[in-house]
Each structure stands twice: as structure tokens, then as C-alpha cells.
């Protein structure tokens, strides 16, 4: 198996996904299958290949530092689950 149940549990915590024990079991198997399949890439000999930072062979794309109008708060928060008209509202963020 390419991934353990504990690893899946940790990743789900980092992704803020709450998984039931049954889901953990099922997803551990599924993620393992995905990773096993990706192992195929490990069979390629890359010893003579330069690591690349980007898939497109282009560099130095820049824009001028100029301000353009922003969205209105109403537009920006149109799809927010909750807002008070000024700010997005989210469950209390404490202790940080």
C-alpha cells in the first residue's frame, strides 16, 4: 500500500475535511490505488533530465504597477455564505 490510514487522516486534517472511520478506510484504499498508478512515473529514467520549475518555457512575464478599479463590497461578497455588508462573516477565529 502506497499510503497508510494515519497519513490519510493527517492529510484530511490539513485539508480541513472531516472523514468518518468508514470513509477513511475507503479513501485510504482509493488514494493508495491512485498513488500506485502514479508509481509508473518512477520507472522513467530521469537521471539525465534537468529539473524544471515550470511546464512552459517562458520567463519574466510582468505587468506595470497601475491601479484599476476594484469590485464593490456587494459584488465581492455576492456569493459569500455570510456577510454583514462590510465584511465576510466566518465561524469565530480565536487564539491566534
Amino acid at each position: 500500500m502506497a499510503i497508510s490510514r494515519a497519513e490519510v487522516e493527517k492529510v484530511s486534517l490539513l485539508a480541513r475535511l472531516l472523514l468518518s472511520p468508514e470513509e477513511l478506510d475507503r479513501i485510504t484504499v482509493q488514494m493508495g490505488q491512485v498513488l500506485d498508478y502514479m508509481q509508473l512515473l518512477g520507472e522513467v529514467d530521469t537521471s539525465r533530465v534537468e529539473p524544471m520549475a515550470h511546464a512552459v518555457p517562458v520567463c519574466d512575464v510582468l505587468r506595470e504597477d497601475a491601479v484599476r478599479p476594484s469590485l464593490t463590497p456587494q459584488q465581492a461578497m455576492a456569493n459569500a455564505p455570510s456577510s454583514d455588508g462590510e465584511c465576510y462573516l466566518v465561524p469565530a477565529v480565536l487564539g491566534f
Binding site: 490539513l14 485539508a15 480541513r16 520549475a53 515550470h54 511546464a55 512552459v56 517562458v58 520567463c59 519574466d60 512575464v61 510582468l62 505587468r63 506595470e64 504597477d65 497601475a66 491601479v67 484599476r68 476594484s70 469590485l71 464593490t72 463590497p73 465581492a76 461578497m77 455570510s82 454583514d84 462590510e86 465584511c87 465576510y88 462573516l89 466566518v90 465561524p91 469565530a92 477565529v93 480565536l94 487564539g95 491566534f96
Partner: protein
């Protein structure tokens, strides 16, 4: 210092770059606007949008890195730092991980009061990244929700990571002062801590001296320090706390994972915060939406040539050219380039660098303080004040009269010559002074006799009488001339 340990401190400083627009979109970076009025689909992380790098942000970052004596990377790329927090709309921050735009530099610190020797503090790296938004929670109002303002999300930041080279809270503050001054001179950042454009996190531990050698204690990261003074106090507190903790537990570096503590300004202590996610938990990976950047040696050289005179060089020049002590050059340079330029013009006009420095520190800075103003708002041009100081230097009138003239220039906005004339101040020439002194001596035989016996105090009374007869006389010249005449009697 006889403390049984060395303090080891490294700083992570984030400064906001002085661009008009954000790092990846055209929203304004202006501070203090109503919440969520400076956002767009890019900076609030809508699906399908693409970031485009701000050329000015790159330019300012490279400028700062070169001034910090860093190596500029020939090739630099962008990475995603993944974490979930409500003020980070994309769920990741675009930052730089393994190929930062600069690395391995240094900043020289010095103490004008000579408490620590000048030395170089290493810079590990300086890289570009975007800021997050702001979350607010009003506990007093007992609200169930936190409020999120995304105006700041996507603002360009330069993260400057120092080596753990700082050895005391004082050195830490000196480093921050010098860094802020340097970035101000470069026009890279205004480094305003109140507006959050400079933020400091500190990593600190101790090397405790024991019979078995030096023992390192666990590293603690201290956050939430809102002024340079707060950083200094937090470091003082934390060093003492860690020493006591070591005495109680004997815990060494590696025994426990890195702890994060927050500085409580009013209580004057640090408190534990939630444990930091391990570096690998950020699951960095290359940012596919931004292409890499390259810098040629010629480009870097061009930036180096555009830096202008930096604070350390300017201090050295003021000391060499105008004979200033380090304390004076430090005070003048630390006020910013505009004040240093004002001082230079003053020194050139009046012909005495130290005298000009005294006037700037005692009179100009005091006036600016009183008016809560900066030097560009100071109404008296340097050549006008310089002329007044020049005449004080030549003994045409004394410092007190010079001050009266400056006060009148500030009040009326008139040039020096007009004010001097208006106050009826005319130089007293040598023959008039001579005549006055002879009159005084003739009228005060008792004082003359006293002075002859060596009681020089009596000369003071002569000065008082002289000022009554002619307010324009210079007291020092009256005194000197009278003593001269008495000696010849």
C-alpha cells in the same frame, strides 16, 4: 554582562513594499480604506483567475536585496504554501520556497552610544510573497462570528530572514532600526508598524554555560510584537523565562518541538500559542500560474548603481567631511535623507559642521517635534538659518540672539536679513566695543580692583551693564575685551 548564558536571536521581518497596486492584480494597496473595497476576483481567489507579477514589486525587492548585500538569484520561481485560514481566500499563499530571489547577505549594525561593537548580521534570504487578509474578532461584543477584510490580501511583502546572529535584545533593536532606516532611504517600504507595513517574528534560544560546555535550549518563536521597543522587551523577558525554564526542566534543543509564544504588551510577558504546523505540512509545490523570473548580472549591476547613498555611507561622510562625532551623525541620518540634506546645506552655509549639528538637534528638531512636522514642512530654508548661524559663529551676536532671530523667522516667515533688521540688531564693530568697555571700566573701579585680585566673577556684572547700554553687543566679546583692558591697566 555576567549572565550564565548566551542569547541567540534570529528575526523574520516582513515589510510591505511601496507599490500602488497589489502583487498579482491591479487593486490598490492603500491603507485604511473601508473593508473589502480593494478586492477583485484575483485577490479573493475566484476560480479560473490568473495572477500577473507586478514589475515594481520585483524591482523594489531586488533593490532591497542588493542593499542588504545579498546574492541575487539568476533564476527564481514561485511556490504555493498551502494552509487553510479564513483570511487566505485561495487556501494557499504564493511565496518562494527553494529558489528565493536573493540569499546570503548582511546588514551592519552599530551603536552610536558604543554599547556594542559594530558588526555584520547575516541575512539568510530575502524573498517576495503576498500578504493575507485581516480577521477581526470582537470578543467584548460576544459575537459568534469573526469578520474578514480582504483589502490587504495580495499586497506585496518582502520577507527578510536574518541569521541567528543577534546576541542581545539591544542588538535586536539596533538591527531593526538600521533595517527600517535602510528601507526608508531606498524608498522600498515606509516600515510603519502601526499600519502593519513592518512585522517582526523572532526566534530565540539560549546557549547555557555549564561545566560540560554550552547547552542550547529549545527554540521559541515570539510573535505579536507591535513596536521595536516591544521586541526588545519581549527578548529580555523571553531570555530570562527560558533560563528559568532550563533550570527547572533541563530541556535541551531537540527535546521538544518548536514552540510559538505571543507577546502580551500590557502584561509584559509571552504566552504559549497554538503549535506551529511543521514546514512539510505546508505542502509547498511550484506555482503553475506564474512563470519564473531571471536576472542578469548587468541588471543587478544597474540596480546597484541606482541605490544612491545609503545610511552607513552617509554617516561616514558626515563624520569625515564635517568632523561630526558618531552620535551626531547617527541622530541626523536616522531622521531620514531630507533632514540630513538640510543639515548639509546648513553646515555648508555656516562653515562649522558641529555648530550646525547642534542647531539642528537643539532647535530644528525641537521645533519639528513641537509641531509634529517633518523637515519638508520646516518654513526656514537652510541657507537662511545657515546665515544666522554663520553670524553667530563670527561673533556678530550670541546664540541666545540667534535663537530669538530663528523664533521670529518661524513666526513671521521673513528672511533672516529682514528679521535681524526688524529686531534692530546691528553688529557692534571693534571701536564701538572698545569704547563701551572703557566706559564701563571707568564707571566700575571696584569691579576692576576685584578682577585684578583674581575674582573674575565681577566681570559678569559688566556684561549685564553692557547689554543694557547696547543690546547688540556679544557678551563673550565684552568679557574678553574688558579682561584684556584690565590686564593692561
Amino acid at each position: 554582562m555576567n549572565q550564565p548564558y548566551d542569547i541567540v536571536i534570529g528575526l523574520e521581518v516582513h515589510v510591505q513594499l511601496l507599490t500602488a497596486s497589489k502583487l498579482f492584480c491591479a487593486c490598490s494597496t492603500r491603507f485604511g480604506q473601508p473593508p473589502n473595497t480593494q478586492t477583485c476576483p484575483v485577490c479573493i481567489g475566484m476560480p479560473g483567475v490568473l495572477p500577473v507579477m507586478n514589475a515594481k514589486a520585483v524591482q523594489l525587492a531586488v533593490k532591497a536585496a542588493v542593499a542588504l548585500n545579498c546574492q541575487i538569484a539568476r533564476f527564481t520561481k514561485w511556490d504555493r504554501k498551502n494552509y487553510y485560514y479564513p483570511d487566505l481566500p485561495k487556501g494557499y499563499q504564493i511565496s518562494q520556497y527553494d529558489l528565493p530571489l536573493s540569499h546570503d547577505g548582511w546588514l551592519e549594525i552599530s551603536d552610536p552610544k558604543g554599547r556594542v561593537a559594530p558588526r555584520r548580521i547575516g541575512i539568510i534570504r530575502a524573498h517576495l510573497e503576498e500578504d493575507a487578509g485581516k480577521s477581526m474578532h470582537d470578543e467584548a461584543a460576544g459575537r459568534a462570528d469573526s469578520r474578514i477584510d480582504l483589502n490587504r490580501a495580495g499586497t506585496p511583502l518582502l520577507e527578510i530572514v536574518s541569521q541567528p546572529d543577534l546576541r542581545s535584545p539591544l542588538e535586536t533593536r539596533l538591527y531593526l532600526n538600521e533595517l527600517k532606516l535602510l528601507l526608508g532611504y531606498l524608498g522600498v517600504s515606509d516600515c510603519n508598524m502601526q499600519e502593519g507595513s513592518l512585522r517582526v517574528d523572532a526566534n530565540i534560544n539560549l546557549h547555557v554555560h555549564t561545566a560540560q560546555g554550552k547547552v542550547p535550549t529549545p527554540i521559541v518563536e515570539v510573535k505579536n510584537m507591535n513596536s521595536f521597543r516591544a521586541v526588545e522587551r519581549a527578548m529580555e523577558y523571553e531570555a530570562q523565562r527560558q533560563y528559568e525554564h532550563w533550570q527547572q526542566t533541563g530541556q535541551r534543543l531537540g527535546d521538544v518541538s518548536k514552540q510559538t509564544r505571543g507577546w502580551d504588551e500590557s502584561a509584559g510577558i509571552t504566552r504559549p500559542q497554538r503549535s506551529k504546523e511543521e514546514s512539510s505540512d505546508y505542502r509547498y509545490f511550484p506555482e503553475p500560474d506564474l512563470v519564473p523570473l531571471t536576472f542578469s548580472p548587468e541588471q543587478v549591476e544597474q540596480v546597484r548603481n541606482s541605490l544612491g547613498e545609503l545610511p552607513a555611507a552617509l554617516r561616514a561622510r558626515l563624520e569625515a567631511t564635517y568632523g561630526l562625532p558618531p552620535y551626531d551623525s547617527d541622530v541626523l541620518v536616522n531622521q531620514g535623507r531630507a533632514l540630513a540634506d538640510y543639515y548639509i546645506a546648513l553646515a555648508e552655509t555656516c562653515g562649522d559642521g558641529k555648530l550646525a549639528s547642534n542647531w539642528v538637534q537643539q532647535d530644528v528638531l525641537r521645533t519639528l517635534n513641537e509641531q509634529q512636522a517633518t523637515i519638508d514642512k520646516f518654513p526656514v530654508p537652510a541657507r537662511e538659518l545657515g546665515e544666522v548661524i554663520r553670524r553667530v559663529r563670527l561673533g556678530e551676536f550670541d546664540t541666545a540672539r540667534g535663537r530669538t532671530i530663528l523664533a521670529e523667522m518661524l513666526a513671521s516667515g521673513q528672511p533672516a536679513a529682514a528679521v535681524i533688521q526688524g529686531l534692530g540688531i546691528t553688529p557692534v564693530d571693534d571701536s564701538a566695543l572698545d569704547e563701551l568697555c572703557r566706559e564701563l571700566l571707568a564707571a566700575n573701579p571696584k569691579i576692576v580692583a576685584e578682577v585684578k585680585e583674581g575674582k573674575l566673577k565681577g566681570a559678569g556684572a559688566l556684561i549685564g551693564q553692557a547689554k543694557k547700554k547696547n543690546p547688540n553687543v556679544n557678551p563673550n566679546r565684552v568679557r574678553d575685551r574688558c579682561l584684556e583692558l584690565i590686564q593692561g591697566m
